[in-house]
């Protein structure tokens, strides 16, 4: 019998986000919302209720004027490889780590809305639909919805799918051209494509020739809450120590600035 859980054996799609390049413009969030039929409510300032798959976090270096600085963390679903927290708790098998792609799926029609996965996710990558999508009659907003992604209904949890439908699209194309393997760049997420700074790189982490694999090995690369051991497939790059330090919780003196890392 095929092994169900554990690191992806086929492709392992992942992402590297260069925070030095990221300008915090939010295009990734908008592209994601537009691509994945996210509904907008009249009040999106309530961040507990606001539905986002890709969310931008603003961080500051904590220094006083004139040394203060801001930076941003774009945060999609991490598509954890190891003991994927949401998958291991879901009672309805509504979320699964795909063995062939490494993508953590979310099946809305299976979801029973218990929100256990939201509690389990260390990254707050999941949001719950307290209401049906806001598409009031007579406004005509529903006309821009894409048929590739089903709009969600109230009572289910949703999250980033690495634009899984784009993988399907690329595979269909490859199939039509009688190819088995996808080329690098043939399947990328909407946020990757949209980023005007080209800060996001997407590809197969199991393929050593993909740019994403090379970047993930950068000495400046890190993952969020890496020591939880969930093996996220989203990497960040920053040359700034204070930004990298925010990627995890460190005891005093525990964080090693890059100069010492290099020396060590």
């Amino acid at each position: 019998m095929e092994k169900k859980h554990g690191p992806a054996k086929g492709n392992s799609y992942g992402m590297v986000i260069d925070l030095d390049k990221c300008t915090g413009c939010g295009t990734c969030m908008v592209a994601c919302s537009a691509e994945n039929n996210l509904a907008v409510r009249p009040d999106e300032s309530d961040k507990q209720r606001s539905i986002t798959w890709m969310r931008l976090y603003k961080v500051t270096n904590g220094k006083e004027f004139p040394h203060a600085e801001v930076s941003y963390f774009p945060r999609p679903c991490m598509h954890c490889d190891h003991h994927t927290p949401c998958v291991s708790v879901c009672p309805a098998t509504a979320t699964e780590t795909d063995y062939h792609t490494g993508i953590v799926s979310q099946i809305y029609t299976r979801c029973i809305g218990c929100r256990y996965c939201m509690a389990a996710c260390p990254y707050h990558a999941r949001t719950f639909n307290w209401w049906d999508g806001y598409f009031p009659k007579g406004k005509g907003l529903e006309r821009y919805l894409s048929p590739e992604v089903s709009p969600r209904m109230r009572g289910v949890v949703e999250k980033c799918t690495f634009c899984h439908h784009r993988l399907m699209r690329a595979k269909t194309q490859a199939y039509a051209e009688e190819r088995k393997e996808l080329e690098e760049g043939e399947y990328i997420t909407a946020c990757t494509e949209a980023c005007p700074a080209q800060a996001i790189t997407f590809g197969d982490l199991n393929n050593p020739e993909h740019k994403v694999t090379r970047l993930a090995k950068s000495p400046y690369a890190f993952r969020l809450l890496e020591r939880l051991g969930t093996e996220p497939k989203v990497y960040y790059i920053s040359t700034k120590d204070w930004v990298r330090k925010l990627g995890d919780n460190y005891l005093p003196g525990e964080f090693k600035p890059i100069s010492t890392v290099k020396a060590g």
């Binding site: 300008t23 908008v30 006083e64 004139p66 203060a68 801001v70 999508g133 949209a194 005007p196």
Partner: protein
């Protein structure tokens, strides 16, 4: 069967076991789940054939290439084009959310309307196009018959030099009114600086991709300045691992904006003192002989006068005193700048939606001149304007001939404001203060002056004195709420329009957008509306507009490109233009006939000339001296002609110039004078722009609301950023509800403590506080424009919006 304990338990256990075997409860649960997830009101997007349409985004003057994914005829997603030279694949968040501006009936006008409720209530009744044009035509003809065509005014927010603007200006001329106004933009100040110092009329063209030291005086390089698709791409390029340490970006501004935070160095200066910093740098560069001698000695005039002014008044210590930075910081910056291979100094605050200060821009451009950065690779390129074909002369009749001779209400072009084209603040003032209504009918095109003019709400008040306001807007924007008649335009994805030389691009580019979807409603292209109106009014007006449709006019203008310039209409996306143009002086057109060019332009949306001849310092300047003028002969002329009319001592002060006669025509620092006691208003309000809120005419697409942090907007309140130290002095804490009060009024905001905010200043975001549009936008946050008490920038006459004295009162 006897009901005893044993049987009862058997029955129960059997029942429970049986229940698990029968499929019924599982089937029922499943059915319920499916039923609850198939509410009829959850939309099911119709399927169809996918196709793509290439076009150009015309939401801002940035001119990014877009590709719209469609399902049959329905647009479902906007993406960036990789075969467009401006933006290699990426676009900004506003452009990305553009479909929500198309498919939203609550923010659009779907047919012509006339006002039925009180002004500002947004109550309109449907009318037909015939009726609407009839109403307007009658009104305009009536004014002309009465011999008062100057009582017609137009305010235009369309991009500079665009065909639609040309057409609107033409309409006003044909009607006989001199009162054609444009909303202020950074392009006005750029044009003025280029004209005054270089005598050139082409746009500001920064070759930033080839520069190795980018010194930005408040330009929000990644906050929406210039063409965002291009700027952010360049930013990403500078941050490539192999580029580390090769390009330096320095940001000068009082707040840790994204640009300041992400730059290599941030130099906070007191609001409005950027010019003094530039002059302090110039002092060091001149003193240490770091300037480009070949250029300065051979191709500039007035260097002697200017350098003696700079040496006398702007030493690093003096400059430090004005700007609030350290003297050695200024010295180090000046050295680093001048010693770089290809430094460039940029001006234009924030996104560049609003004007800048003329003297400040002159000081900054002088830094480029000092380092020989004009028309040099990686500097500021000097160009001719796009050679668009001219339109035939306007046909005048007696009424219009007499009308256009009358004085403009805003005094632009008079000896007091010699080089100003349009002064909205003075226009509003004249209309507001006039006893008789000076303007009877105001036509509003492609802009939202009620929201965007930094005039303390003066324009909105002036509207009360205008009996008839006509909006040509596609949107239910703030200004349209005050209109009496609506002649709605198509939305940008439904029409053919152009982007002429996207902001800041270093090579000539003409982009043409095309309809991505067929018009959804009973709207009409604004250009065609003008043609219909002219035709209906007949006589000399109809004769001035002989075209059948707007496309014909575009074609006529584009013919000029074909005739006089050699360019390309296709771009492969393999080699960026900023790289190839270094080695290219001329290109061979990839079209043979005009028809071929026009058809390719219509489908690809692009004409550009990826070639440039650098240097040529002996021929590029069109000033009286034929050189780059530190001492501007045009300004000297202007000041002298004003002096002739007025006594010398009051003359300069009358022009708003604080410096003496010797400095008046040189780049220098002017302190903004405030008319009130500084003690009453101890803080300075600085409005700022962020890229994920549309701050101009267009409303933010609702998707963008997700990107706004809850320390920027919470429910109905937007936040003012203030330094924690200043806040503690005022007894304020995070989230406090306060009024910010200026002499012009007050707005209500919440306090956001931010260490990146300069002490003593209050930073308020632009783009909030709409009174138009729909529930996603309307009534959210406060608009700082409403409390800007507009001081006047010397000479240019434009509003000083970047610095307003305020106080904070706790609610």
């Amino acid at each position: 069967m006897e009901l005893n304990r044993r049987n009862f338990i058997s029955l129960m256990v059997g029942g429970v076991a049986g229940l698990h075997i029968t499929p019924l409860p599982w089937k029922l649960t499943d059915d319920i789940a499916i039923w609850t997830q198939n509410w009829p009101w959850v939309p099911v997007p119709p399927v169809g054939a996918f196709n793509k349409v290439k076009s150009v985004c015309t939401l801002c003057p940035g001119g990014c290439g877009i590709e719209v994914r469609r399902v049959d005829e329905r647009a479902v997603k906007i993406e960036g084009r990789t075969d467009f030279p401006v933006n290699p694949g990426g676009i900004c968040p506003v452009g990305m959310g553009g479909l929500q501006l198309l498919y939203n009936e609550d923010i659009r006008f779907t047919r012509p309307m006339k006002r039925v409720g009180p002004r500002g209530s947004g109550q309109f009744a449907d009318i037909s196009w015939k009726e609407a044009l009839g109403l307007l035509g009658e009104r305009l003809s009536g004014l002309r018959k009465a011999g008062t065509p100057e009582a017609i005014a137009a305010i235009d927010g369309n991009p500079c030099r665009s065909t639609i603007s040309t057409l609107i200006e033409r309409l006003l001329k044909a009607l006989g009114s001199p009162n054609y106004l444009r909303t202020p933009s950074v392009e006005d100040t750029y044009s003025l600086v280029n004209l005054i110092m270089q005598g050139t009329e082409g746009p500001m063209a920064y070759d930033i991709e080839n520069s190795d030291f980018i010194l930005s005086f408040g330009s929000g390089l990644i906050d929406g300045w210039g063409s965002p698709g291009r700027m952010i791409n360049a930013w990403g390029m500078w941050r490539e691992p192999e580029m580390r340490g090769k390009v330096k970006v320095v940001q000068v501004e009082p707040r840790a904006s994204n640009t300041a935070s992400k730059a290599d160095q941030w130099i906070p200066v007191l609001p409005g003192t950027e010019a003094a910093l530039a002059l302090g740098m110039a002092h060091v560069i001149i003193k240490e002989g770091l300037y480009n001698r070949e250029f300065v000695n051979g191709f500039t005039s007035g260097f002697g006068e200017w350098s003696s002014l700079v040496m006398k008044q702007y030493s690093p210590t003096q400059s430090a005193k004005i700007t609030g930075c350290q003297a050695d910081e200024i010295t180090a910056l000046a050295r680093a700048f001048a010693k770089s291979k290809a430094p460039v100094a940029l001006c234009g605050r924030g996104k560049g939606t609003l004007n800048g200060s003329l003297y400040e821009f002159m000081c900054i451009q002088s830094l480029n001149a000092l380092t020989g950065g004009l028309n040099r690779i990686g500097g500021v390129l000097v160009h001719e304007p796009l050679p668009l074909g001219p339109l035939p002369e306007v046909t005048f009749d007696e009424v219009s001939r007499a009308g256009i001779q009358k004085a403009r209400l805003d005094q632009a072009g008079t000896p007091r404001f010699p080089y100003a084209q349009s002064l909205t603040s003075l226009f509003s003032k004249a209309v507001f203060e006039g006893k008789e209504p000076a303007v009877d009918t105001l036509l509003v095109f492609g802009g939202n002056p009620v929201h965007t003019l930094p005039d303390g709400g003066l324009f909105r008040k002036a509207l009360r004195n205008i009996p008839f306001v006509v909006s040509f807007s596609a949107f239910r924007d703030d200004t349209a709420m005050f209109a009496d008649l609506i002649l709605p335009d198509h939305s940008y994805l439904e029409k053919m329009d152009e982007s002429i030389w996207p902001a800041g691009i270093q090579y000539p580019l003409y982009a043409l957008s095309r309809p991505v979807v067929k018009p959804l409603y009973d709207t009409q292209h604004c250009g065609d509306t003008i043609l219909h109106l002219a035709k209906q009014m007949g006589g000399s007006i109809a004769a001035s507009f002989p075209w059948k449709g707007y496309e014909e006019i575009l074609k006529q203008r584009v013919k000029g490109l074909f005739d006089s310039a050699k360019g390309l209409v296709t771009y492969k996306g393999t080699n960026p233009v900023w790289k190839t143009m270094q080695k290219t002086q001329e290109v061979t057109p990839d079209y043979k006939s005009f028809d071929e060019m026009w058809n390719k332009l219509k489908s690809g949306g692009l004409w550009f000339r990826p070639a440039h001849s650098y240097g040529r310092w002996d021929t590029i300047f069109k000033t009286a001296t034929g050189k780059f003028e530190f001492l501007s002969s045009r300004l000297q002329l202007a000041v002298q002609s004003y002096l002739r009319q007025n006594q010398a001592d009051i003359a300069l002060a009358g022009m708003g110039i604080g410096a003496g006669a010797d400095a008046a025509c040189l780049p220098h620092y002017e302190e903004v004078k405030q008319a009130f006691n500084a003690k009453d208003y101890p803080l300075t309000m600085v409005p700022y722009e962020i890229i994920n809120i549309a701050s101009g005419w267009i409303a933010s697409p609702p998707h963008l609301n997700k990107t706004i942090f809850d320390d920027q907007l919470l429910k109905e309140d937007s936040f003012a950023e203030i330094n924690p130290k200043t806040a503690s002095q005022l007894g304020l804490k995070e989230g406090d509800l306060v009024f910010i009060e200026s002499p012009a009024g007050r707005i209500q905001v919440r306090i956001n403590l931010f260490d990146g905010a300069m002490p003593g200043a209050v930073f308020v975001p632009l783009g909030f506080g709409h009174i138009g549009y729909d529930e996603f936008t309307k009534g959210k946050g406060a608009n700082p424009n409403y409390i800007i008490s507009p001081q006047m920038d010397p000479l240019s006459g434009q509003p000083v919006w970047w610095k307003t004295p305020v106080k904070i009162i706790k609610v």
